[in-house]
Amino acid sequence: MPDQAFDKAGGAHTAPPAAVRVQGLWKRFGDQVAVAGIDLELPAGKFIGLVGPNGAGKTTTLSMVTGLLRPDHGTVHIGGHDVWADPVQVKSRIGVLPEGLRLFERLSGRELLAYSGRLRGLPGDEVDKRATQLLDVLDLAGSQHKLVVDYSTGMRKKIGLAAALLHNPEVLFLDEPFEGVDPVSAQTIRGVLERYTGSGATVVFSSHVMELVESLCDWVAVMAAGQIRAQGTLAQVRGDAPTLQNAFLELVGANGHNPGDSLDWLGGGAPR
């Protein structure tokens, strides 16, 4: 399927400067191509969803964009700075919450924030002040002295988010921030992120839950099989489809794949 990219966000309005610009990004693991030459232009100050089925290459893309994985080809610019050529400018501007990587789990929640903030070069007093506020807002104050290894999945996501927000980054990259998180914690995370983007910062998060993306994001990029199938505002990507879910299934080519005929033996009325 050809790349169905839309025009730059906003259309008639003057387009805001791109927070993230990805050009010709490739990554191959052995024989398998994980990311096959993607181009992305993510506008600043938006809540951006990177959606796609499992194995689409979302995590690989986000890892390369945040400097945690070296791409085979292509460039990534964040706020106009090259991620690989100019890490000084980039690393201080971004916050990351990766999926599938650990935290320093033998630290308590508060110690983790104190450590993370000081690595970022923030003054100790400021780190402690911000950590206290983040722990309060994210409802972790009661468990702040517990080791992260004893935290639940939701608590880990929240402490990871706190660590990513501590240095007030311009762009926040979250890989599956709502995966395995209970509704209460999800609502807390959501509230914090909405307040954060409301102030002009950019959030880029990956997910495969369309309802969530539809209710949160104003800008969406759809990925499948290592390629970008569509990118643009929610309305642009949704197009004529009734919901984002339908548009998504259409884009990734999953529509029309009806298992009904092949599983005719399955169900109450069928012969055993």
Partner: protein, 545 residues
Amino acid sequence: MSVVAGHAPGAESTGAVSTGLTPLFVRLKLSLLKNGLRQSSGRRTAFIISAVLVLVFSAFLVLGLILLRETQYAPTVTVLLALVTAVAWAFMPLFFPSGDETLDPSRLVMLPLRPRPLVRALLAASLVGIGPLFTVCLAVGSVIAVAHGFAAAVTAVVAAALLVLTCLALARAVATANVRLLTSRRGRDLAVLSGLIIAVGIQFVNFGWQRLAATGGMSVLEPVANVVQWLPPASAVGAVHSMSEGAYGRGLVQLLLTLVVLAALLWSWERGLVKLMTAPDGSTIQAASDSARKESKAGLLTRLLPDGRTAATAQRVLRYIWRDPKTKGAWITSLAIGLIVPVFNALQGTGSAYWACFAAGMLGMQTFNQFGTDTSAFWMVATTISTVRDAYEELRARLLALLVITVPYTLLVAGVTTALAGDWSVLPEVLGLAFALLGALLAAGLVASALYPYSVPQDGTYKNVVPGQGSLAWMSLLVGLVVSTVVCAPLIALTVWLHVAGLTTWFLLPLGIAYGVLVTWIGLKVAAPRTAARLPEILAAVSKG
């Protein structure tokens, strides 16, 4: 829940259950054993192999003990053997918590059981198994080895039973008292540490054996045995020996002592069971312990160091050495072996003060694979390193944390070893060489960490390398050791030459320190740009666990 301690309405029926409880539990244990073996052929094979091995070993043990009967060493050996067995039983459940499902009291909590019959039944059930079989063989062999005469023979029967039961009761009492610990994360952490007990234990056995051989045999152990024969359950074996010697009073006291301790153990086990089965557990107590955990204070080191990466990283590394079971295990093993080897060598009179360099070597190796112990959490570091300077500070901070331990430790080991070897004049050169070696190893370790990182799996006691990275780990360590030795060679050559020429050697101390610092600094300078340039590769290499 009061089903255990209190009177339930159906008290008569519980009484009826209690009478048949012991055979029921024994049958339950046997079925669990059988079903467990049926589950997988691997488990069956392992069981059969270990059973055969234990049987053969037991047979030889009994034979050996019977042969010992005619020698003068029998009382000493049997008494010490009994003590070692009891200690092993006491610690076994802490390190190998899984396996015995009949004895997990939390599974029985909903059943209407009374504590006393329950303890009896559990004790009987725990007699089933390979371990108890081995202990029975050992007990029987031991009493045969020391029993001479009718009174001793009668005592021997009682003593063997008491020895076995006390061992089992000890294991159960310890396990019950610590069951909260064993089912928690802390318990699993503890199990990871068991590897180091074995590693350090081997050193002790090795040196103990050498010492025995060097000093002319068992006679050295007699004073120890004289004390141990009063320690239950070894006192049961001691009683048999006393009876054989005609010291009936002493024998009776020893036997009684064992009986009292067995009763006390059973009583504490029963109390532990009642408490465990009637008190709320972790699932019902709200996280009350949260507030109990004190807010960790900033350590001395962090108050001395300037605020920022250096202090934060050094503190994190030190916290990991203390809190992460894998890291802690590696450190304690290094510290213990680094002390035991030089000190024991010096004690035997065969070693020289230069053995103190061994301690520096053991600790220096801890710098290898710096990032492996971070696991995939290394991403948190990687996202904050953007310049070579950042990488330099990160490595320097890690080094500082290591030096906090290694420098005083090297001083201590060198001091103790020199004192034992009895030649204070060599202390400066020993320290100088040790610090130079330490510096060389730290430098090599840092460079190896940057160039050849590998994952350290977090589960499993003995696995320190992920499959597929083993050769990488060995090569990096081996090359590092060779390089460090080569780097130290000039200083070693100088020391030898000074000795041959009969010149003064005190200046080797400042020279060694300066050399060590210089080499470490060069190592930092070489490793920092390589670390900064290879962040994604390092992250990928350490994330495989």
